[in-house]
């Protein structure tokens, strides 16, 4: 497996200007001095408090947001404009409302000029994989929240990008479906050489899936620490609790997070 850097984030700062205040457009700092290397072929998770800038960082990797200062490199080149080399499963599902589930799943293949019958065949396979067979002809508003999210997931996986950015892909899914899809994801990924950047707020999920976990501080977000997950591969996501390395690592992560909690509680009251 290639061990070069897929993505390299250097000294990134991000300033946003909120537009709601009529009289003064006040700028504020969303990301502060973030540096991180994501090696090629690895599964890296981001965990951290809500609003700390995880999605913003993913947006930068996809070229949708420009850093105010610092640089984001993709495979050695500075990201400048849309990065069509990555697949991006955004936090909102962003399904096209005028396309049925199947048409949504096929859309990237259409962009790539894949012939209709191949599209259909591949879509059917992925749709079955996430348990959505029978709903091919539903429009997004006729699907449940979890079904929409699963559709958004396979819409990106289907064209097999070499780097996949996933922003809470299993967010609105029940524990049951979730574990199955985690397992499915690991099976697709293992040995594929793909790089995955995965945002989640479920520590167990992060541990079960990742090679590395980047822990973010609360806003203005920065990376507090990067952990190497001390579990072997392949992993059994169904029984990850039973892995000998799990409890200790989980406790360590949780301890480090608690510091952030205390801060938030203090702020909240």
């Amino acid at each position: 497996m290639d061990r070069g850097a897929a993505i390299e984030i250097r000294d990134v700062f991000k300033v946003f200007v909120a537009r709601g205040d009529r009289h003064q457009r006040r700028a504020f700092l969303a990301l502060r001095d973030v540096s991180l290397t994501i090696p090629s072929g690895r599964f890296v998770s981001f965990v951290g408090p809500s609003g700390c800038g995880k999605s913003t960082l993913l947006n930068m990797m996809a070229g949708l947001v420009r850093p105010t200062d610092g640089e984001v490199q993709y495979k050695g080149l500075s990201v400048d404009g849309i990065n069509t080399d990555v697949g991006y499963i955004t936090q909102d599902d962003n399904l096209l409302p005028w396309r049925t589930l199947q048409e949504n799943v096929e859309v990237a293949l259409e962009f790539r000029g894949v012939p209709a019958d191949q599209r259909r065949e591949r879509a059917a396979r992925y749709i079955a994989m996430v348990g959505l067979s029978g709903f091919e002809h539903h429009y997004p508003h006729e699907l449940s929240g979890g079904m929409r999210k699963r559709t958004a997931l396979i819409r990106t996986l289907i064209y097999e990008p070499s780097v996949v950015l996933m922003d809470e892909p299993f967010g609105p899914l029940d524990a049951q479906t979730r574990v199955i899809l985690q397992d499915e994801l690991l099976r697709l990924w293992e040995g594929s050489g793909k790089t995955i950047v995965f945002v989640t707020h479920d520590l167990v999920e992060a541990i079960a899936l990742s090679d590395e976990i980047a822990l973010f501080s609360r806003a203005p977000g920065t990376i507090k620490r990067v952990y190497q997950v001390p579990l072997g591969r392949p992993r059994d996501v169904f029984h990850i609790h039973a892995d000998p390395g799990f409890p200790e690592f989980y406790d360590r992560l949780w301890r480090d997070l608690k510091e952030e909690i205390v801060d938030v509680v203090l702020e909240a009251t």
Partner: protein, 292 residues
């Protein structure tokens, strides 16, 4: 709760009931469309008949018959036009002008709208000039139309196209701007080309605007053709209307107009159908009142 579930009957009975419901809903769904269709048609006929009746009765009493005529006379004039003035021949001519002008104007509005909206700077510079051009009374341009487009069918098509263009253009721009930026972003990341973006993301998102513009411009195109025929013509319904006006022949005037309206309504129906088709995915299209 388990007890309750038991009490509602065996599992088989529930299955049975589910199947019955499915069938019921499927047939109801079909039936309802038909009923709505029928009610609308009946409602329109009733409304139309009521208006004609009111007109017939008011004319000569509340309204001055010299200026508004009455439906019965108009019907007679329409018949006479059909027989004696080769109405259909003139109608075909006018409808061709309107349709071709409509197609050209709408096409140009769409294309230019897409071209300019995607380049905001150019749009902001050009926009006031386009608006200004539309502030020019058509009548003032008549000699130019004649010089540039002649006195044949081309000049009528040009007038119709001009009247359609602006509305489609502005609405297209507004529609393009209302395309959710996130959709554009995910599509671009997925590798959409500019053309993919236009066809598969922006156009569908702008559909409600474009359909509204296409609906607004149906009567405009027809009026454009008529105005064109007023500017110069030797045939067409505008010619007939103009002649009727010259001879103070109000029934004839309205007869010509009625002939046009049939075409306008057919075209409008076509656009409505097209809109319903393009926006079939839209859950609330047409059912705004009843929130649930």
């Amino acid at each position: 709760m388990d007890a309750l579930e038991m009490a509602t009957g065996t599992f088989g009975a529930v299955e049975e009931r589910g199947k019955r419901l499915l069938q019921r809903v499927e047939s109801e769904e079909r039936a309802q469309q038909r009923i709505e269709q029928r009610n609308t048609t009946l409602g329109r006929l009733a409304f139309g008949a009521a208006m004609l009746l009111a007109w017939e009765l008011a004319s000569g009493r509340l309204l001055d018959q010299f200026f508004v005529s009455k439906p019965s006379h108009i019907a007679a004039a329409l018949w006479a036009m059909l027989i004696k003035e080769a109405l259909l021949y003139h109608l075909r001519y006018t409808v061709t002008e309107a349709l071709v002008g409509y197609a050209i104007g709408a096409g140009a509005g769409l294309v230019l709208g897409f071209a300019l909206a995607r380049s905001n700077f150019v749009y902001r510079i050009v926009e006031p000039f386009i608006v200004a051009f539309y502030g020019i009374p058509r009548i003032a341009l008549a000699p130019l139309f004649i010089l540039w487009f002649g006195i044949g069918i081309t000049s009528k098509i040009a007038v119709a196209a001009v009247m359609v263009f602006f509305i489609v253009f502005i609405n297209t721009i507004a529609g393009i701007r209302s395309a959710p930026v996130q959709f554009l972003q995910v599509a671009r990341v997925m590798g959409a080309s500019e053309w993919d973006l236009v066809r598969k993301v922006i156009f569908p998102a702008a559909t409600p605007f474009i359909i509204a513009a296409l609906q607004i411009t149906v009567p405009q195109a027809m009026i454009g053709a008529i105005v064109g025929e007023f500017i110069s013509s030797n045939r067409g319904v505008g010619h007939l209307i103009s002649r009727a006006a010259g001879f103070l022949d109000t029934p004839g005037l309205f007869a010509g107009i009625f002939a046009l309206l049939v075409v306008v309504l057919l075209m409008n129906q076509g656009i409505t159908t097209l809109g319903n088709h393009l926006m079939r995915w839209n859950p609330k299209h047409g059912t705004v009142r009843d929130v649930p």
